[in-house]
């Protein structure tokens, strides 16, 4: 996430410059992306929160003009009031604290104290993506699939790509604007990198624990539809491979794939929840009881090295960050 921080600081200035007016070209882009969104949504998991309805995605397209388009991908969620409403509601339902800045611009956010500023709700999508990515990479278990976030990012990437293509072929685009376009494109590549790495990290976990995942219905809701079917099919593929290669030539009682050995070791690989993780507490996480019966306070702003299973709740809530 670190390499996005500097750009994120700059983006409000760009955003306010472009927000005032709108052009027909941008609107048409916004409208045409709806079908893409719908299509994408059908392939990705059902949205968990009520705030992320189909309405929020294509709202970004409106009120985008040329200077806005050449600013940065971050602008949308900071400048556009529509998105902050959408994520505000989503946060309320899933986390239980309500930021009361719905529909307000970014100026009012500065009135809130620093802690509130850093909550997930007020962050733009790319920053959130960074956090989600770090969390996914830092933990052993599969985390919740952030389908809405990915949808939103894909939506914006698509729009930006269209704007960039339009502006690049436009002879009126000035030299300076061409340079800005380069920046936008680089930014897009970086966002794509984030998403790609995120998806592949998940794939890696899914393939590693595919058998466990298919056998445990309670974690199915963490995966998108495509991921779940991938897990199933991968398990099948792997087992067929094993069967054909060796198991078929073994005695019959040795052909199973879900045996447990005498020492309690199962053939189904599970995530090892005992691995240590380094966490940074974004909020006060109360106390945890360590193995030896000792108690440790997870105060805000402190860093700890603890077993994953002791703090997984806080990591899932986003109260603690994996480093």
């Amino acid at each position: 996430m670190s390499f996005f921080d500097d750009e994120a600081e700059d983006s409000p200035t760009h955003g306010h410059g472009g927000r005032a007016s709108s052009s027909s070209r941008a609107q048409s882009i916004g409208a045409s992306s709806t079908s893409f969104l719908d299509r994408l949504r059908s392939t990705v998991s059902p949205s968990p929160g009520p705030g992320h309805g189909p309405g929020h995605g294509h709202g970004h397209g409106h009120g985008v003009d040329r200077s806005r388009a050449s600013a940065s991908i971050f602008d949308e969620s900071i400048g556009g009031a529509g998105s902050s409403v959408g994520y505000g509601e989503g946060g309320e339902s899933s986390f239980g604290f309500a930021p009361d800045n719905e529909g307000l611009g970014s100026q009012s956010q500065t009135d809130l104290d620093l802690d509130e500023m850093e909550e997930m709700e007020e962050m733009d999508d790319v920053k959130k993506m960074g956090l989600v990515w770090v969390r996914e990479r830092g933990t052993v278990e599969i985390m919740n699939w952030e389908g809405d976030l990915i949808d939103g990012l894909f939506d914006k990437l698509e729009q930006q790509q269209k704007m960039v293509t339009t502006l690049r072929s436009d002879p009126q685009t000035s030299e300076e604007e061409h340079f800005k376009l380069m920046l936008v494109q680089t930014e897009m590549e970086r966002v794509k990198y984030l998403v790609r790495s995120y998806v592949r990290t998940r794939l890696h976990k899914i393939e590693k624990y595919s058998h466990y995942i298919t056998l445990t219905p309670s974690i199915h809701h963490l995966l998108s539809g495509a991921e779940l079917s991938h897990a199933r099919r991968y398990t099948d593929l792997l087992h067929t491979h094993f069967q054909h290669s060796v198991l078929d030539s073994l005695p019959e009682w040795l052909r199973k794939m879900d045996d447990s050995y005498g020492d309690g070791l199962s053939m189904v690989t599970k995530p090892n929840r005992n691995v240590p993780v380094l966490i940074y507490c974004r909020r006060d996480c109360g106390e945890i009881t360590l193995e030896g019966g000792e108690r440790a306070a997870l105060a805000r702003g402190t860093t700890h090295l603890v077993k994953y299973k002791l703090v997984d709740r806080w990591i899932n809530l986003g109260w603690a960050e994996v480093l």
Partner: protein
């Protein structure tokens, strides 16, 4: 001694994974060894079942020597199975790794010229001949699986592009190492890649050609 062959299999498999940079070529599928391990396990299986049948339930609870014998054979058979599967899954890991390194290009991965281009000084067997027929099937199946999965994303994002480093620069200077013929890039422009020429192109457009060894970053 029971399990000696299996041990041999696992240690050699472990050795082949020790070096990741540079990546060692995937060793040839140890078919003879695997067959003899399977044979040993089958013999153990028959020996266990005949022993249990001839002695029957009664002596099984009295004859301690027989119980001991059966336990050892049982454990050896299970251990053989475990070693075989460990060997296979290590190889599966290696196969998948190579698939991702090649950017998901199955045809490129299996073409006989590949290993010559990557490490010309070694007379390493190319991937196709190192794999067992079952592993080839697996690789094809995996390829199909991933094609299905990534097609959901494909209009925005190429999932199989490199994630080694975050992208820094948009453009990249490349030199053509191998003739690639005429290539139509994303923007619709045609580029003729002839050996020795240099280009400055968008990284995302030529990434694949770099991975496959047609172009080389300068």
């Amino acid at each position: 001694m029971y399990g000696d062959l299996a041990l041999q299999l696992v240690t050699s498999s472990h050795r082949s994974t020790l070096s990741t940079t540079p990546q060692l070529p995937l060793p040839k599928y140890a078919l003879p060894l695997i067959l003899s391990i399977c044979l040993e396990t089958r013999q153990l299986g028959t020996s266990i079942s005949t022993a249990a049948e001839t002695h029957g339930q009664v002596s099984l609870s009295q004859d301690r020597g027989l119980v001991c014998n059966l336990t050892v054979q049982h454990l050896a058979a299970r251990r053989n199975k475990r070693c075989l599967l460990a060997y296979l899954s290590t190889r599966v890991g290696g196969i998948k790794e190579r698939w991702w390194d090649a950017g998901g290009g199955l045809a490129y991965l299996l073409s006989p010229t590949t290993s010559v281009a990557v490490n010309p000084d070694l007379d390493a067997p190319d991937l196709r001949s190192a794999l067992s027929p079952q592993e080839l099937d697996f690789l094809r199946g995996y390829n199909n699986l991933m094609l299905d999965y990534k097609s959901d994303f494909l209009d925005v994002l190429d999932l199989t592009a490199s994630i080694e480093r975050p992208p820094g620069e948009l453009m990249v200077d490349v030199r053509v190492v191998k003739d690639a013929g005429e290539v139509i890039l994303e923007g619709g422009e045609r580029v003729e890649f002839r050996k020795g020429e240099r280009f400055r192109l968008a990284r995302s457009q030529v990434e694949r050609l770099i991975v496959q060894g047609f172009l080389e970053e300068v």
